[in-house]
Symmetry: C2
Subunit: 233 residues, 2 copies
Amino acid sequence: MTVTEPKTHSEGVYASLRAELLGGAFEPGSKLRLAGIGSRYGVSLSVVREAMTRLAGEGLVQALPQRGFCVAPLSVEDLLDLTRARVLIETAVLRESIGQGGLDWESAVIAAHHTLQRTPYTTSEGHLGGDWSVAHHAFHKALLTGAKSPRLESIATELRDCSLLYQHWSIDIAHDLDRDVAAEHRTIAELAVARDADGAVKALTDHLERTTAALLAYAKSNTESGRGIGISA
Amino acid sequence: MTVTEPKTHSEGVYASLRAELLGGAFEPGSKLRLAGIGSRYGVSLSVVREAMTRLAGEGLVQALPQRGFCVAPLSVEDLLDLTRARVLIETAVLRESIGQGGLDWESAVIAAHHTLQRTPYTTSEGHLGGDWSVAHHAFHKALLTGAKSPRLESIATELRDCSLLYQHWSIDIAHDLDRDVAAEHRTIAELAVARDADGAVKALTDHLERTTAALLAYAKSNTESGRGIGISA
DNA sequence: AAGTTAAATAAAATCGAAATTTTCTTGCTT
DNA sequence: AAGCAAGAAAATTTCGATTTTATTTAACTT
């Protein structure tokens, strides 16, 4: 698997910065100084600016006119809205997938699920593994490819990327949650392939809402104990 | 009604360019030369570039690495995908609105519909009036505000803006279509306020699909007669 | 001491030019 | 004449510096 060479400098910085953001390298809401990032990547302000503008369009960073850019600020309110939007859109697209997806889609879902199943959730150090995140993302993406709608897929992907920012709230407690995430994925995959639209939609909804609930529970405990980071409201 | 002063130069060019694009000032797929636009607005390339990057994020223009930007190319395939996405998302959000919208939402829908009803569809010269477009946009937006979901609203708005690019395919035949657009709007508004979710969703779906069908019919006739403009495939 | 104003500092936004890359043109070969 | 190659022109991308705006610091007043 070779990484495609970025055609332009700006493209490269955009991709790197995006990966850093989604990897939780920056604190939510924190200021992103153009000069610092520019010198870190060895490029001029213009290219950092363009990358930032693109990221702002995706909602990963926020543009503050005349005051630069900051990492998208997280809030309970936004997480709830985001989850609602994801449930609405992803379930609708999943229905389309189940209705229109062909054998290629079924195979892709099964393959993606198999990969996810076999990828360790945590690294040897107990942290959330990057490989698992990639496999998880690929699995959810595969579920929606049956709809054969580039627009819907990209919207769903964009929303999921936004919610990735929230995953880093609870990176430490992720593995002692009182639920079986692997089983949830298996259920979704099985019902989808079995063309049980209502069942699959229900399972996907539960999956998304449970994840959000776990995040909120963690955010609450953190806020109460005064260790809350970057959570407004 | 005062237009808010743009905080930054780039912001202003972005807004102006956006309005031109949605107003059909440029031919779909045509090249947008940065230097030309820059001198026209009296700004340097940097600010045009930033505006373009933002517009590319919205899908109104397309970024071609190392080759600049062009107006989003239109195609039958994309129009069908776009319509499908709009139906899926707008109907889902409309359901939420009907389910959760309060009296303020009802009032906003009725007000927006009233404005739309009283705004002439064509100007004295027989062209599609800008006022009507604004009122039309506001009406569809009002339908979705009851859901109280900033994310869903902005996604729906973005998609509708994209489809505005297609409206200029048929600007001339717009008024001799064999359908009553005003009646369609009235039906949607009435069913929505009456909290008839299934009925309103059906009416909205019909409205969107009829508009697309009319555009496709026009595009087909244009292509056959060799007068097609910027329609690939 | 708290609040306000004014200077100094830092950062962002913009510019004009240099460096690349693409595109067009011209001349050459088959 | 058609196809190809080399050079010229044009356009995009990037840079470094200037200008403008926001933020911080310091001094001053109430």
